[in-house]
Amino acid sequence: MTSVKLKLKENDVKKIQEICKSFNNEPGELINVLHKTQEYFGYLPAEVQEEVAEGLGISVAKVYGVVTFYSFFTMLPKGRYPISVCTGTACYVRGAEKVLDEFKRILKVAVGETTPDGKYSITCLRCVGACGLAPVVMVGDKTYGRVTTDGVKDILKEYENE
C-alpha cells in the first residue's frame, strides 16, 4: 500500500491513546479503533498504526494486516473533494465504467489516488443503494444521479473555484 508520512504531534498521540482507552484497550476492538482513528486523521499513516498497535498491545504487523484487508481503510489522505463512483452492478450496466474513465481522464489520476494539489481523489464504491439513480457518483456527501460522461465536466465545474 502506498502511503504518506505524518509526523504525529503530542496531542495526536494523546488522541489515539484516548480512542484506544475508550475501547478498554481491547485488542478485539481493533477495527472499531481504526474507524475512529481514521475519522479523526482522515487516513491511517504508519505512525498512527504504530500508536494504535501500542495502545491495544498488538503487533504493528497485525494492525497493518487488518488495515490492508479492508477497503474502507486507507493510508493515503483523500482529496478535499473525494469522488466516489458507484461500480455496483446496477450502475455498471448503466455505464458507470465510462463515467469513471472520464473522471480518470480529466483528473489524470487512477482509482485510489489523489490529485497532486490534494483537491480530488477518486475511489470506487459498491452500491450506495440508489440504483434508481444509476449511475451514481458521490462527491463528499453529495450524490449525483444519472451521471453521463458529459455530466462529469459539469460536476467538476461545481468545484472549480473552490
Partner: protein, 597 residues
C-alpha cells in the same frame, strides 16, 4: 396516528435522499405550518417505498395517492392543493408507461400489484425513528408473546414450521439453525445480525434497517431467548451511515421502553444489542469471516466445522442470521407459522425481497412471494425493459449467481429452481440486461469484483479467479482462442469444487452460466472478433458514414481526444490510432452519421 386527517409520508431512503427528499420534507412541514394545518396534516419521514426509479416519493394516507419525482419546490402545490383542497396534483402522479395515464393511487400501480410485503411491511409506512409507530403496527407483540407464553423449544418449533430459510444466500432453514445453536452449551452465547450487505447491486438490508430497524431488534431478542443468548451484535457496513443512525436511535428507544436490557417485559430475560462495523470486505458476508472481523482480525473465513453454533464469536456458540431473515420473524409469530407457510412454494416459503435494477423501467425494491416467475417480476412489476429494447438476461445472486435467459422467464423463483438453472437466490440482487449488454463483459465484471474481494487465503480463489478474469479479458480484447473456453470451464469447476468458502465456491457461476446460455457470444468474440452488443472496445471501430455527414463539427467538438478532423461543411474523419472509443461522437451526432463497425 388517529388524530390527523392526512399523513404525508416522505421517503427518507438513501435513493430519495440523494434527490433532496430531506429538503422536500422540510418544505412540506413549512408549508403545512404556513397554511395552519399542523393539527390536520402530519408529515412523516419513512423508509424506502421501493419505487426508487421515480423518487423522491410522497405518499398520502389514507387515500394512497402516490406522488413521484417530487421536487422540494413541489411542496407548496401538494399542501395547497391536496391537503387543503383535497385535489390531487395530477402532474406529480405516477404515469402508466403503457396506457400513458396518471394512476390515482398506489393500489393501481403495476409495481405494487403483485407484491406481498412481509419483511418490508413497515417500510414506507412508519417513521423508523419513532418506536411508538412501530408499536402501533403490532411491534414487539411477538416478543412479548414469546417471552411470556412460550418456551424456547415451542418458539423454535414455530420458526421451523414456518419453513423460513436464510435470506442471506445460503437458504439454510432458520429454525433448524436456531435449534442447533440452542443445543450447544456455552458460558455466553451470541446472536449476530449480518448486515454487511456487500453484493454490488443489492440494498434490501439497508432499506429494512433504514425503514424498520425495530423489527430486526425484536427478532434478535426472540432469537436470543430461543437459543439462550443474552448478547446480540449487529455487524453493519460502515458505509451505511443512515442505517447506523437509525439503529442507534432504535436501540436507545427500545432500551428506554424496556424492550431491550434487563428483565424484558418483566419476563426475567435479559438481552442487549451492540453494533460492530464492517470496513469494506465482501467476504465478511460469510459467517466465519464475519466473526473474525468482529473479533478485530482480517476477515478470512475458516473451515466449517466447527460451525459458529459450536464455536463462534470469541469461541462461544453464535447464531448468525441476515437482516431480511430477521425481518420475517415477528410476523411469523404474529400471524402464525401456518399462514407464513401458505405463501410460496413447497420448499421455499414466504417472500423474497429483490433489488430490481439495470435496464428496467421500474428500478426499485420489491418483495414478492416465492414461486413468482421472472416474467412477472420483470415485465409486470418492473414494467418491462427500458427504452423498448429487447430483454436479454437477468442476473440473480450477485457475484455468486448466474445469468438467466428468456428460457428461464417462466420458472417459478425459489431457492432450488434458481440453483437448478445455474444461478442462485443470493441476497436478492436482480439485474436486468438488454441487447446492449455483452455477456462476456458481464462475466468479466463479476470476476473483477471477485478478484478484488477474494480474501486470498485459499489458492483456487486467490489465483484461479484471477486467471478466469485474465482469460475473459483476453477474449474481450479479441485475443481469445478456442481452448480458452475449455480452460474457463475446467477452472470454474475446480474453483467451485475446491475453494474454502462460499465466495470461491460460487464465484465462477457468472462464467459458467454465461458459457451455458450465451456460448454463441463467446464464440463470436473468439472466432469472428465480434461483440454483438458493441461493448468490447477492442472489437469495435467508430466510423463516419460520408453520405450522412453534413460537416456540423459536433462530433469533432465533443471528441475528448481531438481525433476527428474535418472542416465545417466537410465530411469528417476519425483517426483510429487516437480514438479511445468513448462513443461521444455517436451520442452527439444528430444525423446518424457515426456508426460502429
Amino acid at each position: 396516528m388517529a388524530k390527523f386527517k392526512t399523513h404525508m409520508l416522505v421517503c427518507g431512503g438513501t435513493g430519495c435522499r440523494a434527490s433532496a427528499s430531506d429538503v422536500l420534507y422540510e418544505n412540506l412541514k413549512k408549508e403545512v405550518k404556513e397554511k395552519g394545518l399542523e393539527n390536520d396534516v402530519q408529515v412523516v419521514t419513512t423508509g424506502c417505498f421501493g419505487f426508487c426509479e421515480q423518487g423522491p416519493i410522497v405518499k398520502m394516507i389514507p387515500d394512497n395517492t402516490f406522488y413521484v419525482g417530487v421536487q422540494p419546490k413541489d411542496a407548496a402545490d401538494i399542501v395547497a392543493e391536496h391537503a387543503l383542497k383535497g385535489r390531487k396534483v395530477d402532474r406529480l402522479l405516477y404515469k402508466d408507461p403503457v396506457k400513458k395515464e396518471h394512476v390515482p393511487d398506489s393500489k393501481h400501480m403495476g409495481f405494487y400489484k403483485k407484491q406481498i410485503r412481509i419483511a418490508l411491511r413497515n417500510c414506507g409506512l412508519i417513521d423508523p425513528e419513532n418506536v411508538n409507530e412501530y408499536l402501533a403496527a403490532d411491534g414487539y407483540e411477538a416478543l412479548g408473546k414469546v417471552l411470556l407464553e412460550m418456551t424456547p423449544e415451542e418458539a423454535i418449533q414455530i420458526v421451523i414450521d414456518s419453513g423460513l430459510r436464510g435470506r442471506g444466500g445460503g437458504g439454510f432453514p432458520t429454525g433448524v439453525k436456531w435449534k442447533i445453536a440452542q443445543g450447544v452449551k456455552g458460558a455466553q452465547k451470541y446472536v449476530v445480525c449480518n448486515a454487511d450487505e456487500g453484493d454490488p447491486g443489492a440494498f434490501m438490508d439497508r432499506s429494512i434497517l433504514e425503514g424498520d430497524p425495530h423489527t430486526v431488534l425484536e427478532a434478535m431478542a426472540i432469537n436470543g431467548y430461543c437459543i439462550g443468548a443474552t448478547k446480540g451484535l449487529i455487524y453493519i457496513r460502515a458505509e451505511y451511515p443512515l442505517a447506523i443512525h437509525r439503529l442507534k436511535v432504535a436501540i436507545a428507544q427500545a432500551r428506554e421502553y424496556g424492550l431491550l436490557g434487563e428483565d424484558i417485559l418483566g419476563s426475567g430475560y435479559n438481552f442487549d444489542i451492540e453494533l460492530r462495523y464492517g470496513a469494506g470486505a465482501f467476504v465478511c458476508g460469510e459467517e466465519t469471516a464475519l466473526i473474525h472481523s468482529m473479533e478485530g482480525h482480517r476477515g478470512e473465513p475458516t473451515f466449517k466445522p466447527p460451525f459458529p453454533a459450536e464455536s463462534g464469536y470469541l469461541g462461544m456458540p453464535t447464531n448468525v442470521n441476515n437482516v431480511e431473515t430477521y425481518a420475517n420473524i415477528p410476523v411469523i409469530f404474529n400471524k402464525g407459522a401456518k399462514w407464513f407457510a401458505s405463501i410460496g412454494t413447497e420448499k421455499s416459503k414466504g417472500t423474497k425481497v429483490f433489488a430490481l435494477a439495470g435496464k428496467i423501467n421500474n428500478v426499485g425494491l420489491i418483495e414478492v412471494p416465492m414461486g413468482i416467475t421472472l416474467r412477472e417480476v420483470i415485465f409486470e412489476i418492473g414494467g418491462g425493459i427500458k427504452g423498448g429494447k429487447k430483454f436479454k438476461a437477468v442476473q440473480t445472486g450477485g457475484p455468486s449467481g448466474g445469468c438467466l435467459t428468456e428460457k428461464h422467464l417462466d420458472t417459478p423463483i425459489d431457492y432450488d429452481n434458481l440453483i437448478a438453472s445455474g444461478s442462485m437466490m443470493g441476497s436478492g440482487g436482480m439485474i436486468v440486461m438488454d441487447e446492449d449488454d455483452c455477456m462476456v463483459s458481464v462475466a468479466k465484471f463479476y470476476l473483477d469484483f471477485t478478484v478484488e474481494e477474494s480474501c486470498g487465503k485459499c489458492s483456487p480463489c486467490r489465483i484461479g479467479n484471477k486467471r478466469l478474469y485474465e482469460i475473459l479479458e483476453k477474449i474481450t480484447k479479441g485475443h481469445g482462442a478456442m481452448d480458452d473456453l475449455d480452460k474457463l470451464r475446467n477452472l470454474s469447476n475446480v474453483i467451485k469444487d475446491t475453494s474454502l468458502c462460499g465466495l470461491g465456491q460460487t464465484s465462477p457461476n457468472p462464467v459458467l452460466s454465461t458459457l451455458d446460455n450465451f456460448y454463441d457470444e463467446y464464440l463470436a468474440h473468439i472466432t469472428e472478433g465480434k461483440c454483438f452488443a458493441s461493448q468490447c472496445k477492442d472489437l469495435i471501430k467508430y466510423e463516419i458514414i460520408p453520405e450522412n455527414c453534413v460537416g456540423c463539427t459536433a462530433c469533432a467538438r465533443n471528441c475528448p481526444v481531438n481525433c476527428i478532423s474535418g472542416e465545417r461543411k466537410q465530411i469528417h474523419l476519425i483517426d483510429q490510432s487516437l480514438c479511445i472509443k468513448c462513443g461521444a461522437c455517436m451520442e452527439k451526432c444528430k444525423f446518424n452519421a457515426v456508426t460502429i463497425i
